[in-house]
């Protein structure tokens, strides 16, 4: 088998191809959104006030939901629970939430809404232990693991249409919280925000509230 035959075949089999038409849509959407938001927020300071007001109202509504009606959850519990903690290793060790956010954005094009650093809260501060990208039923999910005191938790974020938080997939509200304990010893706290679905998985034996300290200085209740 001469090199010339092999080279000829390699050229033939590895010819360049035309990119699919849908590629621009996949690329353009996040870039367009990012520019639009930046322009609007720079040009219209009043928008900041509106955003802050919506966030406050939503958070208040969420707290009420937590207390009143913890909805039963039928999520992909086993799939998510298998990726908590460090047992499977991490793809990235972020020093700050900002680093984690940027890494997830660049690796998976998922926009996670996180503060730049974890705030020091009334029960301590969340320490990041690692981040990884996983596939749940072929869908890309970002997982950020962290510890508050001796409690470990993992925040999973996926594009909302993935239906990761199964019973909330059709919701059009900005925020939609639910909380449940599973029979397998973990608890799930899920909500939708923007285009993403967020799910925090923490041990059922512990209170779920310290897990909120990743982003919030105070815990609900």
């Amino acid at each position: 088998m001469a090199d010339s035959w092999l080279e000829r075949e390699l050229k033939r089999q590895l010819m360049p191809v035309v990119a699919p038409e849908t590629l621009w849509d996949r690329i353009n959407q996040p870039v367009g959104d990012r520019h639009w938001v930046r322009r609007r927020l720079t040009a219209e300071p009043a928008l900041w006030v509106t955003v802050a007001a919506i966030a406050l109202l939503a958070f208040a509504g969420a707290l009420r939901t937590f207390r009143a009606d913890p909805a039963p959850e039928k999520l992909e519990e086993r799939e998510l629970a298998a990726f908590t903690g460090a047992s499977r290793g991490f793809d990235f060790q972020p020093a700050t939430l900002e680093a984690a956010r940027k890494w997830v954005k660049s690796e998976a094009n998922i926009d996670i809404r996180l503060p730049a650093t974890a705030p020091r809260g009334d029960r301590g501060i969340a320490h990041l232990t690692g981040a990884r990208l996983i596939q749940v039923r072929g869908l890309r999910v970002a997982a950020i693991s962290y510890r508050v005191g001796d409690e470990e938790a993992t925040l999973f974020v996926s594009a909302r249409h993935t239906g990761l938080a199964g019973n909330m997939g059709g919701s059009r509200h900005l925020f939609s919280f639910s909380h449940a304990k599973s029979s397998s010893g973990v608890q799930f706290t899920s909500w939708n925000m923007g285009n993403e679905t967020y799910t925090i998985v923490s041990p059922a034996a512990k209170s779920w509230q310290p897990a909120c300290l990743l982003c919030h200085a105070t815990t609900p209740g």
């Binding site: 088998m1 001469a2 090199d3 035959w5 092999l6 080279e7 075949e9 390699l10 050229k11 033939r12 089999q13 590895l14 010819m15 360049p16 191809v17 035309v18 990119a19 699919p20 849908t22 590629l23 621009w24 996949r26 690329i27 353009n28 996040p30 870039v31 367009g32 520019h35 793809d91 660049s106 690796e107 094009n109 990208l133």
Partner: protein, 193 residues
């Protein structure tokens, strides 16, 4: 659809400056100019259309985010190639496979008698080339893709991968030998049937 030939495109300074100003039309023009190259490298490297789209998307998002920092110290095309290459390597790191390592060891234990191959086997083997290329070690596979999909010279590949052109020649030579061994083994397996 397959492109009729390998086309090398130079990226104009005006287009790059337009992107650096945030001009949406320049972004689109830059994308149109390079989309086939980016997608082709990704597809030929990973062998999967869905993953290739992920890699291409990742590459363009990185490009659009970082183009403001491009100062023209090296050629834009080499800079973009490096982004595609890194995205390909990153993607593979996320989906590490151990099987090729075992394959490599098994292949090394067999020395082919190349003179025994006839035309029938060659035809049969050509069908396996893509899958065998996908089983190459990442650094060898990338050299093969840049060489045969993009038609780049050793020097151009060396600039993109940040190593000497002698290293590229050596990697390509090793890749050829591995490909020959594996294709020969596949042909041998088929004959046993």
């Amino acid at each position: 659809m397959v492109l009729p030939c390998i086309e090398k495109v130079e990226t104009g300074k005006d287009l790059i400056e337009g992107c650096q100003r945030g001009d949406p039309e320049s972004f689109r023009a830059l994308f149109e100019k390079h989309k086939d190259m980016v997608y082709s490298v990704a597809l030929r490297y990973c062998g999967n259309a869905v993953v290739a789209q992920d890699i291409a998307q990742d590459t363009f998002l990185k490009l659009f985010s970082a183009i403001g920092s491009f100062r023209g110290d090296s050629s834009f095309d080499a800079w973009l190639y490096r982004m595609v290459v890194n995205s390909c390597f990153d993607q593979k790191r996320r989906t590490r496979r151990l099987a090729p390592l075992l394959d490599e060891v098994l292949a090394a234990l067999q020395t082919p008698d190349v003179s025994a191959l006839d035309e029938v086997l060659r035809t049969e083997m050509s069908e396996h080339i893509k899958s065998v290329v996908e089983s190459l070690a990442p650094d060898q596979r990338m050299v093969v893709v840049l060489r045969y999909t993009q038609g780049l010279s050793y020097e151009e590949i060396a600039e993109i991968l940040g190593c000497a052109s002698g290293t590229i020649a050596s990697r390509l030579n090793r890749a050829h030998k591995v490909l020959q061994r594996r294709l020969w083994r596949l042909a041998g397996d088929k004959r046993k049937w």
